[in-house]
Symmetry: C2
Amino acid sequence: MKATNIVWSDGYLTSTDFEKRFKQKGCVIWFTGLSGSGKSTISERVQKELFEMGHIVYVLDGDNVRHGLNKDLGFSPDDRVENIRRIGEVAKLFRQAGIIVLTAFISPYRKDRDTVREIMDEGSFLEVYVEADIETCKKRDPKGLYEKAIAGKIPEFTGISAPYEEPLKPELTVDTNGETVEQSARHVIDLLKSRKII
Amino acid sequence: MKATNIVWSDGYLTSTDFEKRFKQKGCVIWFTGLSGSGKSTISERVQKELFEMGHIVYVLDGDNVRHGLNKDLGFSPDDRVENIRRIGEVAKLFRQAGIIVLTAFISPYRKDRDTVREIMDEGSFLEVYVEADIETCKKRDPKGLYEKAIAGKIPEFTGISAPYEEPLKPELTVDTNGETVEQSARHVIDLLKSRKII
């Protein structure tokens, strides 16, 4: 990469400096949906496709957030709110760094997702509803979580013993009952193109 | 940027994928020192020089962290610990994304800094002690904070009414009593070269 013309004025580099260099806009693609709906699988596919295209893209998910930044949080209502708030703030930092950041969390509450949307610049928060019937998710159940939740071994499990509030106006809905992962990923990438993120 | 060969196996891209693409190692350069010692000024200079060289580099500082992720935290002992813990965890995420992340926080307690060091992979946490006499800092006092602190208007102000524990074994010390910003920045960049980060 060749150095671009940066202004040596006071202050740190800005989103604009990064975006010019990276040839993309920083943004947050917020995947939401039931456990087993396909958030991780789709975000993984999208990440790899974007990376192959030369983009700079990072994923925040339970593995890298719950065991680190949010390891002090449990699953009480207050802690769930705080969990999503912090993820939103971290996603915002990545966005400011000019990065396309994908988040893959159930994030069941509309209000929490809307709170994240509010802290982002207009147009830089793209909510993707990963839709799948609860029956489909139960059948997939890759980690055996539904089985445990139905048996009462996991309290407050979204879709079983805790609510999931689907998005009212997501930027995109992918219906994984019928679509393949490749198709869903394609829809996400088309969205980024239509929004001139990439 | 040309696509590199990535493995389409299960899971997200790894640090190794990013580092190969970015031609750098992800790392955390942790600046610590008194208010007015020059942490922000030096990190700004280092960021811009690295960016000019083609590197991917982001800065975490009070402006983007205290008003967002850590806006629920005050300056009590517990909150200070949690403040640094979260910054460390966020820095770790940026590092995992293959990015060189600079942090510019007073971070006065040795134990808190060491806790951050412990969560990082060996060699990816570089502590830079930005050394300046308290008298020098008081003279600079760009935000008039020392004046207020001495007048008792800011409680628990590091160096005046709260302790600063200097690093015992920092990877680098820059002495801004005598060095110019350019010289200090050069020392940091030389450190990155000697550690084969860049």
